[in-house]
Symmetry: C2
Subunit: 199 residues, 2 copies
């Protein structure tokens, strides 16, 4: 007989499916929570329920927010002429934390991947082409990951946006700020050298 | 303005306080959940609530279960003469997974720690002494961690149990099964050599 009751086991099983957690860390988290029912377990349950009912996907850009259109799309101080295309909402957050982009976003919801069977129709691509062709947008920045799938997606998007009459740009490759050359891969070093600038 | 809504931020903040998670992994988990509202987010919220209301601490041994006394304490096929003392419920689960101990348990709820200000009154020690003195118990196995705090707690418990008239034992130190000598610390090797046995 398992010493873990079924209610407890269900919490552990659900936690173990979360990214970065396995059966062992899920047990640890579950024990942590059950020892702090009022301080951690019930507040987390309530916060999850509230967030699940309040958060929706922005039908314009694919961002997650409590409003539709999202706060970024609805903000008329932001530049309507520039769209920054990202893979996931987490990437949008990362760019917002950097606080340097003042246009709007477009979340693809992933990258094209032959291996995982993700095709163009699985991603938020057609609405992007429609947005880029509206006559207001002048630049589409492809801020996808510098991975094989990310770059394949960037190439596909460049093709699709060819007739939209917009400038298509991508993020610069180079040495990360604070990065030590000794620890960088050859690809990054080659790209940084190729894109060198006069001081 | 933060791109993350307050409902979302609350989920992230609560997740970031869980053991093994930080702000970055909490964001990743929160995004994973909100993309799977019906498959993961709401079931987790519900499972947490159900577990919080169903699970209680066994007043006899300190185990967590939906019943009080817990299933282990209530199981009359288990040997009432042996108590295995563990620090946390997770340790009890680990021993039950090994499936070799057929007595009852006693969960201390931690270890004595001068640094963290944990004294004997903060642990489940007095009830252990009472249980050990009931005339039925003949052996108390101290299955505490082989850490400084764990061993200090074992010494304190040995003192406290002196007049209970029970045999006090502790887990053997030695080479872990499957362990390679080359990777073991000197303390473990010394303990294993000292406790060597004839084949």
């Amino acid at each position: 007989m398992s010493p873990v009751s079924s209610e407890f086991q269900r919490v552990i099983d659900l936690l173990a499916k979360l990214p970065g957690l396995g059966p062992r860390s899920a047990r640890r988290v579950a024990l942590h929570l059950v020892k702090r029912k009022d301080a951690a377990m019930l507040p987390l349950a309530q916060a999850l329920e509230e967030a699940a009912s309040a958060i929706r996907t922005c039908t314009r850009c694919g961002n997650l927010d409590t409003h539709n259109p999202c706060a970024i799309c609805a903000d008329n101080r932001r530049d309507p002429a520039a769209i920054c295309v990202v893979e996931e909402v987490g990437d949008l957050w990362a760019l917002e934390r950097a606080g340097v982009f003042k246009g709007s976003y477009h979340v693809l919801g992933g990258t094209l991947s032959a291996l995982e069977g993700v095709g163009p129709s699985d991603l938020n691509i057609a609405p992007l082409v429609a947005r880029a062709s509206d006559g207001i947008v002048t630049e589409v920045i492809l801020a996808v990951d510098a991975t094989v799938d990310g770059q394949a997606t960037a190439h596909y998007l460049t093709d699709q946006l060819e007739n939209a009459g917009v400038k298509i740009t991508h993020l610069a490759h180079g040495v990360p700020v604070g990065g030590e050359l000794d620890y960088l891969d050859e690809g990054t070093l080659a790209a940084a050298l190729k894109a060198r600038r006069t001081l």
